[in-house]
């Protein structure tokens, strides 16, 4: 298989679904945990629960790094970002996580500045971080009103 649509082939999915159903022992319930948040995303996006028998249940695990970050760490990030002259970059979803002291993304409204006035995600190279230096920030820009689409999110 070479193309993504081949991994989404409905006929093959139905065939697998039937094979799974055939393996179910009568009266037994099955519970599997998908550890990774990326799997959770696929399961809901493609409605995979509808392809499984009622007796097979998928349980969502802790494999979403942004989800397991405690609020205290977000506040630590905010404290660093509020230091004068600091430019902080991170993955887009991290920027939206609420901490006790606020959301990193909203710091802009508290007088913190970012390269080109927006937040950046991804790698930093060169002299980024020091005013007047030719620093470059790679990656997409994140807007305040950006919907959740996952393109810039931290991978599980």
């Amino acid at each position: 298989m070479r193309f993504v649509d081949e991994f989404r082939d409905a006929d093959k999915a139905l065939a697998l679904s039937a094979q799974i159903a055939a393996l179910c022992e009568p009266g037994r319930r099955y519970k599997f945990m998908e550890v990774c948040g990326g799997h959770t995303h696929t399961i809901y996006k493609h409605g995979l629960e509808d392809y499984l028998p009622d007796t097979v249940q998928l349980v969502h695990g802790p494999g979403c790094p942004v989800c397991v970050i405690p609020m205290g760490r977000v506040d630590d990030a905010i404290a660093i970002a509020e230091e004068p002259g600091v430019i902080m970059t991170s993955f887009g979803d991290m920027m939206r996580v609420p901490g006790g002291a606020g959301v990193v993304l909203r710091l802009q409204r508290r007088g913190c500045r970012y390269p080109d006035g927006v937040l950046a995600v991804g790698r930093v190279e060169g002299g980024a971080g020091q005013p007047g230096q030719a620093g470059r920030v790679h990656g997409d820009r994140v807007r305040d009103d950006r919907p959740v689409d996952g393109d810039d999110d931290a991978a599980g």
């Binding site: 022992e25 959770t40 991978a155």
Partner: protein
């Protein structure tokens, strides 16, 4: 702010190596990398859950490989299948788990072999080891403090460690009372069973983390799953109405 499982840790490590090569003095990393194995151990030790097996994390496994999961099959008697991220990958992994149970096997299998090498990515593991060290413990939302479950910048690269350069409060902040992310993360609660799901807590105004990231169960369910669930509800309601109107 560096974050992620072993999946993203190598890119942070490479960034530090690059910063070292460039001789940067104005660059630092606030390291929040976590490791997957201690989290799975915590889940296995949790009394709330009775699981039949695991769909293993594909992206993490590209770095750490399949070997670290062997204790789950050998020591805890739960099969694990490393899975890819397309719909057929996940269905095939469920099939492989069911087949193991039906045949009375309990093994670690690799469904995602087109990307995941059994021994992992040795170069990636090497740069992680070169620049980072395990923390004695780290707090996880929902799971509490787990020992040796996160990475910090090691002593050799201390010059790039934001936690040593800046004054970090390091205060523990309690989650909002209404938020039930902890239960959702442990798999005890389904997203829609949370009290604030879809009402006070939405991707636009998240209260908890699970509603923020696209990988969070709540955000994924809010964006996609609720429609099919509503359809099912709608369908049963229609049937109910038809049944009640059919009665004499």
């Amino acid at each position: 702010m560096a974050i992620g499982f072993e999946t993203t840790a190598p890119s942070t490590a490479m960034t530090m190596l690059r910063a070292e090569a460039l001789g940067l003095t104005n660059f630092s990393v606030f390291c929040n990398h976590v490791t997957i194995i201690p989290a799975i151990k915590a889940i296995l030790d949790s009394p709330d859950l009775r699981l039949d097996g695991f769909i293993g994390p594909g992206h993490v496994s590209t770095v750490i490989g399949c070997r670290p999961y062997e204790f789950i099959a050998a020591g805890h008697g739960k099969p694990l299948v490393c899975a890819g991220f397309e719909p057929l990958d996940i269905l095939q992994s469920v099939y492989m788990l069911m087949l193991q149970l039906a045949e009375g096997r309990c093994e670690v299998e690799n469904q995602y072999s087109r990307v995941v090498p059994w021994d992992g990515n040795l170069k990636a593991l090497q740069v992680i080891n070169q620049t980072m060290a395990l923390r004695p413990y780290f707090e996880w939302r929902g799971l509490g403090f787990i020992s040796h479950s996160a990475l910090a910048v090691n002593d050799r690269y201390a010059a790039f460690d934001a936690e040593r350069i800046f004054d970090v409060p390091g205060v523990r902040v309690a989650d909002p009372k209404a938020c039930q992310c902890g239960e959702v993360l442990k798999g005890v609660l389904k997203p829609w069973e949370c009290k604030v799901f879809g009402t006070a807590c939405t991707p636009e105004t998240p209260i908890g983390t699970c509603m923020v990231s696209s990988e969070g169960a709540c955000a994924a369910y809010y964006n996609f799953g609720r429609f099919s669930r509503e359809r099912v509800k709608q369908a049963t309601r229609t049937v109910d109405i038809e049944l009640s109107s059919a009665r004499p």
